[in-house]
């Protein structure tokens, strides 16, 4: 221990003595370690503990997937769930939940809350207990006994002022009276973003539904049963179901997912891994920089190290001494890096809109916790070893006796050291290029997303949602009348140019839309289970004009398309091209649902532009529009085109809707541009982070090449002096230095470009607007890197030509 203390003491002294290089190294490592610590905190939250309960490794989600349509996680039908529950032996508990927005009315101002209908054993399955009261009783999944509700801590605190006597109280939910039986502990909001839970019950009809998939199923593994074993059993059951009911299960595959895999969607995982890779690259570049500095430092200390060897230091002791210095450097970088990471984590967390953050699994657990500190310590020590091992190791190749001789010129850098330093610079350039290209492509993708929705002119559009209670608005005419009155009042408001409604506003709710199968009249049935599907929008006639969705054929919907007239539909161009490529779709008929569905045939009266609903989709999805007067929905979004800032109209809008139904809460009241921003905030984060990482990589790589060229000039001072004495001009010397540096840059870029191309292919497959052959990414950015590298080579070259030949000749 004593000798390690000695090594540390001496190491600190050496670092203090060479302040400038120490500062450069600490700064480079701080950047590398800092971005890694910050990204680890994000990845830890997303990938390791995205759910607010402990035993998540024994809980799995049983989901359907449909690879042919790119659906990797889908809910299941009630009967599927009930059959699984009856047949599976791998689990001791199996439960289910359904998304369920509820309107809280009565005692206080009407408010919409995010609830989940859950099976009574749900909390027990997760291993969580209420803060107050109880959870659900087994019999409360029966219709009639399900008039109970459990509140989240947040809802209890906010709406009921943390009333300690809340248990047993009755509240109005969607027009029904429910008894509050429990309040969950603070921070428990699963499934995200739960504010309340009600019992999940099935009526007789629901218990037979097989092809309507809306249930999410979780199950707790029995002790000693592995995920693989459970998967094998569930696949067997699924195959039996598919054989018995091929229509319902054709193309669907069961997947058993662990909770972290289920809670964090695959795209988030992919981008998290992309960013983890990117920060890893930045750290490698920083390590290469530091290794190059260490090479220079060790070479400058060859005599000292030779003396130490002569004094009895073994090779391992010398390496330990040098590694101690290197690790000390990294630890100093880690301290600064942690401060940077805290700042970055703050920036990441604080810039996420709360209405988006509440949906992201693990978001509220992003922080630099003990694991992040341990991770930082580990990468700091690893970085110290990585950046120090090669210089330390190569030192041991030095000829000690030659170094100690008085006439010896010392340990000039051998060819192996030259080679390794060149390799490090080449690697830095290659990694920096990959990061730059990745960042460039993401920025291009992000810009493409912005451009694609500019057509909506979203800055002057207000969007808000409402959900009509089923009990009160059971009948179609009541709903139609409600919407007609509301739209009329809204359109008459000052500053409002027009008002409309639609089932799904593009990009709202993360771009999620439901899709339904549809059937074209006279068309042979598709292969079993492969019915075409579409987004079904129920809109008001003004919607297309309000949103600048252009008419491409036929007519728009009108107020005269009502209950008394034949049902009609407008289709998107995508539907026309994909399903009517041989002719004119106008006048043709289709219906929502399969051929035997009990829904009316709709006559196609118009074709409109395609609409992009979510940034995830690379292509627009087929869409069929219906008139709200012919199919009035319960849930809808209102859209208003205003004269200026849409938020100035909010209170007037609330009053206008309140005049029609004072108990109806409006929710997600947001300007449309905010809706779009919220929808693409994830990719904006990734693009911004990649850009920052790309720039850091550019700076670090240029520091690396500058360091190596500068050192090389120092080493070749004598040679340069000789060349100049022999008649070499300034240009000759400059060319000599530049040629060497640019050669390394070109080799680095030649290695980096094919790898960047691989990244481009991967990104283009997951992100709208990313093209593999992107001139910005593959021409402009490499040129930028080459230009920066040229400057980094030019500065030492300029220093070389300014040397006095006589001084250079005397240089040893």
């Amino acid at each position: 221990m004593g000798t390690i203390g000695q090594d540390i003491r001496y190491g600190v002294r050496m670092l203090v003595k060479h302040r400038l290089t120490t500062l450069v190294c600490v700064a480079a490592l701080a950047l590398g370690i800092g971005v890694n610590a910050a990204m680890f905190s994000v990845a830890e939250a997303f990938l390791l503990h995205p759910v607010p309960f402990e035993n998540s490794d024994r809980i799995v989600a049983l989901v359907d997937s449909r690879p042919s349509q790119g659906i990797d996680t889908n809910s299941v039908s009630p009967v599927t769930y009930l059959e699984w529950k009856a047949q599976a032996h791998s689990f001791d508990k199996m439960g289910a939940y359904v998304w369920d927005t509820i309107n809280l009315t009565g005692d206080r101002e009407a408010e919409k809350a995010q609830a989940f209908a859950i099976s009574p054993n749900f909390f027990d399955l997760l291993g969580v207990h209420p803060l107050m009261g109880r959870t659900f009783l087994p019999e409360e999944d029966q219709v009639g006994k399900d008039q109970v509700i459990v509140l989240s801590y947040g809802l209890w605190e906010r709406r009921y002022a943390s009333d300690p006597l809340i248990l047993g109280k009755k509240i109005k939910v969607d027009g029904k009276t429910l008894e509050i039986v429990g309040v969950m502990r603070k921070g428990f909001d699963y499934p995200k973003p739960a504010e309340a839970w009600v019992p999940l019950s099935f009526n007789a009809k629901q218990r037979t539904i097989r092809d309507s998939r809306y249930l999410w199923v979780l199950a707790h593994l029995k002790p000693q049963v592995s995920v693989q074993q459970a998967t094998a059993e569930m696949r067997t059951i699924a195959v039996q179901q598919a054989e018995a009911y091929p229509d319902a299960y054709k193309g669907w595959t069961l997947r058993v997912l662990t909770i972290p895999n289920f809670a964090t969607d695959s795209l988030t995982r992919q981008f998290t891994f992309l960013l983890l890779g990117a920060v890893g690259f930045v750290l490698l570049i920083a390590c290469a920089d530091v290794a190059n500095v260490q090479f220079a430092r060790v070479t400058g200390r060859h005599k000292e190290l030779a003396v130490r060897t002569a004094m009895g230091a073994s090779r391992s002791r010398i390496i330990r001494q040098l590694l101690t210095e290197s690790v000390l450097l990294s630890l100093a970088g880690a301290v600064l890096g942690l401060l940077l990471a805290m700042w970055w984590v703050y920036l990441i967390v604080s810039h996420m809109p709360p209405e988006v953050a509440k949906f992201i699994a693990g978001w509220n657990t992003i922080r630099l916790d003990a694991n992040a500190f341990l991770f930082t310590l580990a990468i700091a020590i690893s970085s110290g070893i990585v950046s120090g091992i090669a210089p330390s190791w190569l030192h041991s190749e030095t000829n000690i006796s030659e170094t100690l001789k008085e006439s010896g010129r010392g340990a000039s850098t051998g060819p192996s050291r030259h080679r390794l330093r060149s390799v490090l610079v080449i690697a830095e350039i290659a990694l920096a290029l990959i990061l730059l290209v990745g960042a460039g492509l993401l920025v291009k993708g992000f810009r493409a997303l912005i451009v694609v929705h500019e057509n909506f002119r979203p800055a002057t559009v207000l969007t808000l949602n409402l959900d009509l209670p089923e009990m009160q608005y059971k009948e179609k005419p009541g709903r139609t009348a409600f919407y007609a009155q509301v739209l009329q009042r809204l359109a008459a408001l000052p500053h409002v140019q027009s008002a409309g409604l639609a089932t799904y506003v593009p990009y709202a709710g993360g771009g999620g839309t439901g899709v339904s199968p549809f059937t074209i009249e006279g068309r042979a049935p598709e292969e079993r289970g492969e019915t075409p599907s579409t987004i079904v929008e129920t809109i008001s006639p003004d919607y297309f004009r309000l949103m600048n969705i252009g008419l491409r054929g036929g007519r728009e919907l009108s107020d005269s398309d009502g209950d008394a007239t034949p049902p009609v539909a407008v289709i998107s161009q995508n539907v026309a091209k994909r399903y009517f490529s041989g002719g004119n779709p106008l006048g043709k008929k289709l219906k929502i649902g399969k051929a035997d569905a009990d829904s009316p045939w709709l006559t196609i009266v118009g074709i409109v532009d395609d609409v992009h609903y979510t940034w995830v989709d690379k292509q627009e999805y087929p869409t069929i529009y219906r008139s709200y007067r012919q199919a009035p929905p319960f849930y809808t979004s209102l859209v208003l085109r205003t004269n200026g800032d849409p938020l100035t109209s909010v209170s007037a809008v609330r009053s206008a809707v309140g005049e029609v139904d004072p108990d109806l809460p409006l929710f997600d009241v947001l300007p449309f541009d905010r809706v779009i921003t919220n929808s693409i905030v994830g990719i904006a984060y990734v693009a911004a982070m990649m850009t920052i990482l790309g720039l850091i990589a550019l700076v670090l790589a240029s520091v690396g090449i500058y360091g190596v060229m500068s050192y090389s000039v120092g080493e070749r001072t004598h040679e340069i002096g000789v060349r100049m004495a022999m008649g070499a001009t300034s240009n000759d010397v400059q060319r000599l230095i530049l040629r060497n540096g640019l050669f390394l840059t070109i080799v680095g870029m030649a290695i980096g470009l094919p790898m960047a191309l691989g990244i481009a292919y991967a990104l283009s497959s997951i992100l709208f607007g990313v093209r593999v052959a992107d001139p910005f990414a593959f021409v402009a950015l490499p040129l930028l890197l080459a230009a920066v590298a040229t400057v980094a080579c030019y500065l030492p070259a300029r220093r070389a030509v300014r040397m006095d030949p006589l001084t250079a000749l005397r240089y040893e």
Partner: protein, 232 residues
Amino acid sequence: MEPLIQLRNMEKVYEAGGSKFYVLRRVSLEIQPGEFVTFMGPSGAGKSTLLSIIGMLDGSWTGEYYFNGEPVHRLNVKKRNELHKANIGFVFQSYHLIDNLTVFENLEIPLSYKNVPHKERVSLVCDILDRFNIVGKKDLFPNQLSGGQQQLVGVARAVIQSPKLILADEPTGNLHSAQGEEIMELFRKLNEAGTSIIQVTHSERNAAYSHRVIQLKDGWVVSETSNAARVG
């Protein structure tokens, strides 16, 4: 008595551009325990190379080398280093003190490489500081000392681990005569106390302190002379 050093047909050769360049040729010699030997010869004769080989800093040679009966030519690097660490101290012309360490720390260095416990290290360093009369310099850095003082520290550093053999390469080459004489007197006393010494020097005056002078030329041992008129 078994010789401290026994070399048989030792050769060292450099290969460059396909041709061989001999630095040492068929060197055979014996040095007894307690002997003070001088290597002399013109530049390029192979003196310093021979010293490095005897000091086990250089392992690329052929022939046989026995140190205190141990066949060095059969030892692996690790064992050779152990042997070197336990028995040999070095003194250099340019002192080769480590610039960033104080006198105390420079003296501590060889002990720490022998894994001597901290308390014992401190005690040994304090002893040697006292013995060499440099207690007052213990916290100074090498650049705060004169050349003579630096070499004094260099000798103290070689002696601190009580080696059987001290190898000195031109130990007074950078010192003026009075300082040089002081260092040579120090060597003489150490030799009288039982430490074997081999020095490389161009100085007849320094050679006069030794029992025997071995002349080298172009890698060959050309003569050996006993020093009847030894100083002291």
